[in-house]
Symmetry: C2
Subunit: 206 residues, 2 copies
């Protein structure tokens, strides 16, 4: 029956994508072999090539999922208008994903680090217009004197950097926390600190 095969297909693709995310984040694109991913997915190596013709194709599929997740974090920019509400919500959403799904952030970071050799032109069409909308909103707040005058891009970068740090540099964070991953309480504390420093930093009360 066709449904049966389709179901196998769906599950295998899911297993492969999940395994790939894990290994790419751990070892980087260049350090990852198809064999590593196959082992992690508990599938024969050639099976991967059946679903994804090349290593590039598989990698791109992993990255595509990520951008979608991140865009959802920024829905608060459209849903709310008050800078305090928008930024508090945005920082919390991004910090949450840094904790719950750090792998994606790491793969993204490595890709940008190396100048987006495999994402390339895709970024121009997706990231650029998306980021410009956010910057326009911040610029509006400045013009209406609702926040102190800041360069919109610089504020955006501070938020991205501070929140993603807990995913990308998670190893260092753990190391400096006596080798233990941050507890729920410690992490909530970090969310509060990032939020309050950013808000106060642009002239708002946390």
């Amino acid at each position: 029956m066709a449904n049966h095969k389709i179901e196998i297909r769906r599950r295998n693709i899911e297993k492969i994508l999940q395994a790939a995310e894990q290994v790419f984040a751990e070892k980087g694109y260049g350090g990852t072999s198809m064999g590593d991913i196959a082992e992690q997915a508990r599938l024969p190596r050639s099976n991967l090539h059946y679903y994804f013709n090349t290593k590039d194709e598989l990698y791109r599929a992993v990255l595509q999922d990520l951008l979608d997740v991140w865009k959802q974090d920024a829905q608060c920019f459209e849903r709310f208008d008050d800078p305090r509400v928008v930024l508090t919500s945005y920082i919390r959403a991004k910090m949450g994903h840094s904790r719950s799904r750090p792998l994606g952030s790491k793969i993204w970071a490595e890709e940008i680090l190396h100048g987006a050799p495999l994402l390339g032109a895709n970024l121009d069409d997706t990231l650029v217009p998306w980021a410009q909308l956010k910057q326009a909103k911040i610029r509006g707040w400045v013009q209406d004197k609702r926040i102190l005058p800041v360069e919109p891009s610089a504020l955006l970068y501070m938020i991205w950097a501070a929140t993603q740090h807990y995913a990308d540099f998670g190893y260092q964070v753990t190391l400096l926390n006596d080798g233990q991953p941050l507890s729920d309480l410690a992490f909530e504390n970090a969310v509060q600190t990032v939020t309050s420093v950013i808000l106060r930093g642009i002239g708002l009360e946390p």
Copy 2:
């Protein structure tokens, strides 16, 4: 004469280290081959193995240089006492290196990203005590009520993340700046923004 040979040796090692920093930053550890580095250094491939037995050894030598540079940025923690002076100086120094020597920051970032597989135990002995001294200083400021109560580690992470972002995510920063690298003026603007948001964020006047 021995001096001649020593001089050749010194210069070749320097060429190799510089080329390695370039290529490792561009392609990552796994994506880099000894051949890539040899080409960049304009030396025969086997010559690299003469000076550095293995790829690991060369990579480690590159990383070692970096930690030393970074520690110098933090001398202000010992030299000054006023939080406003220390942090302003620290942020400016780190932003400066993000602009003048972004390659090192990228290699470091990738190494931490993947859980420091090659630096490993070295970090325990060097980074941890070093970072704890900085945190102790910040904790002192909080206790003396010279800055608002913040988690010292969280503040440190925000500074590291915000400043290193301009090196590590330089590709993204350029992309969102109409594809042009930040001008001197724009970069100075970014330094000011980071500094003032951080300082105001912990209750100081920029």
